[in-house]
């Protein structure tokens, strides 16, 4: 019997989609499986073992890099989200005013320029400041991360603001709430899911950064990704698989959380 004619069918599309999903997950799966490899090289399989997770957890370089990554990501994400929230409040729910287009362009600028260009620019700029001030702490990395996190934090907050009901704030004003009180009690609670989504987005973006960090960091300021890049270039041990697996789990957890936060309707 012939199949009924489906208007949604296109020949071969399902096969290509299946191939894509398979190809997207196969490398990740192999990577995770090899993290549990007991052999000391990734070229052979030596049975199941947790030893590479243990060795990674005891590696002081890995621990330092992880702590540093979280320090930078947490600081940059919080500052970026606060700045982005303020900027979003300043650029939404208003008729066009002089400078509005400039603000949009400036906030989105880090997205428009290839990372390598920003990385090189910051390398030049910060190396001058380093000579001038003698300061060579984490501040440079935090400043760089904050700047490129702002557009990412800005996106969900702005989207949330644009869909928000203005009448509630007007009602608060009608009931003699001061602007600050109306903001604290009405706007902020409504905006919260957007802010949270922006914060998580900024955190992940900062945590994942390789290129800008690689150029801006001073000696001994490796973050987890730049440490891994160095190790991969030198040759691989299953320890990198173990670190990647842990990193992967964290990303999946954050994405899942993000998915629920941004889907939630009030």
């Amino acid at each position: 019997m012939a199949k009924p004619f489906s208007i949604r069918h296109q020949p071969g599309f399902t096969a290509i989609a299946a191939l894509c999903f398979f190809a997207l997950y196969l490398p990740i799966l192999v990577l995770v499986v090899y993290a549990f490899n007991a052999a000391s090289s990734t070229a052979e399989w030596g049975g199941l073992s947790l030893k590479w997770f243990q060795s990674a957890a005891q590696n002081t370089q890995v621990i330092d890099a992880t702590v540093r990554s979280f320090q930078i990501a947490a600081t940059a994400a919080v500052i970026a989200t606060i700045a982005a929230t303020m900027a979003a409040l300043a650029t939404t729910r208003t008729p066009p005013y002089p400078g509005l287009t400039f603000k949009y362009a400036a906030i989105n600028q880090p997205l428009m320029v290839p990372e390598i260009v920003t990385a090189v620019a910051l390398l030049i700029f910060f190396s001058r400041i380093k000579i001038f001030t003698g300061y060579s702490g984490l501040g440079y990395l935090i400043a760089a991360h904050t700047a490129f996190c702002i557009p990412f934090a800005y996106l969900p907050i702005r989207a949330r603001l644009e869909n928000m009901d203005l009448t509630l704030e007007r009602a608060a004003a009608d009931l003699y709430a001061t602007p600050w009180r109306a903001f604290r009690r009405v706007t902020l609670p409504l905006l919260w899911p957007g802010i949270l989504a922006g914060l998580m987005l900024a955190f992940v973006i900062s945590l994942d950064d390789v290129v800008i960090t690689e150029f801006v960091k001073s000696g001994g300021q490796d973050t987890l990704p730049t440490y891994m890049l160095g190790q991969i270039r030198r040759g691989i041990t299953p320890e990198i698989n173990a670190i990647s697996t842990a990193f992967l789990l964290l990303s999946v957890a954050i994405v899942t959380l993000f998915f629920f936060v941004s889907r939630k309707r009030d």
């Binding site: 004619f5 208007i7 296109q10 071969g12 599309f13 399902t14 290509i16 989609a17 894509c20 190809a23 997207l24 997950y25 490398p27 990740i28 192999v30 990734t42 970026a80 606060i82 700045a83 303020m86 300043a90 650029t91 208003t94 005013y97 002089p98 400036a106 906030i107 600028q109 290839p114 990372e115 390598i116 260009v117 920003t118 990385a119 090189v120 620019a121 910051l122 390398l123 030049i124 700029f125 400043a143 700047a147 702002i150 800005y154 992940v204 994942d208 390789v210 290129v211 990704p225 891994m228 890049l229 991969i232 691989i236 698989n241 990647s244 990193f247 992967l248 999946v252 994405v255 998915f259």
Partner: protein, 307 residues
Amino acid sequence: MASAEEIARAADRKDIRDRWLLSAPALIIILVAATGPLLIVLVYSFLTSAAYGGVEWKFSPEAWVSVFLERDIFDDTLSLADANITIFWRSIKLALMTTVVTLALGFPTAYFMATRSEKTRDLWLFLITIPFWTNLLIRTFAVLQIIRNEGIINTLLMKAGIISAPIQILFTDTAILIGMAYVYLPLMVLPIYASMEKLDFRLVEAGYDLYASRWQVLRRIILPLVKPGVIAGSILVFIPAIGAYVTPSILGGGKNMMISNFIELQFGQAHNWPLGSALAITVMVIVMIALLVYVRNTGAASGERRG
């Protein structure tokens, strides 16, 4: 006494001033740690290279000349810089090929996702989103483990007796292409899916009622309707691909450099900061052109719809 109009205008002015104050922190951070330094790169590209990195504050067009031209060390004649042009050409070629491959794979995938039932659609979207948010370095590393000589592809082919020695994929342009197509695929699928999701299938049905073939429906109805998504996806893939740093440096090895790796070399071992700066500006200009094409296209597309 102030008229109502004047009061309103004063309130407007105060509102605009407040809005500038509110956006000041974000603007200042970006100007200091992103936009401002870009101008310094432009300045550096016109300075003289110092012997051990850094620059001497002396104007020189040398860096810009050597982006495309080479000065003979003996007789000072200029000829085309083959090495630089090879690297530029490789970057542009690989970025375009990545765009084509991801489009060929991503379009059907987005179509597949958009034609699922409402409930399962979210699941497919989630499955595309996870690799998208997974660290690019980790995904590139995952590809490395698949395509290297001891990797799963070569092992399987050798076990099956199809090949006797492993195929060298790693450290070739093909490896970079595979890697970039892999890491940027979600960037192609997501925007196409977004416009595909809004597709009105009654139009498709109307096409079939008028005796259109599957190919005609695809070409004449579906494709024009999702064109904004296709353009957005292509730009979103092309831009990071042309400036890719991590993927070529892991999968391409030392020889198969792309522009980013070449720029890094100028700031590292080559100690030629002005040339590195000139190269960085060149990449930026290529990306700006791509963005302009995008803005013009989407502008034209929305104009069509209005008209």
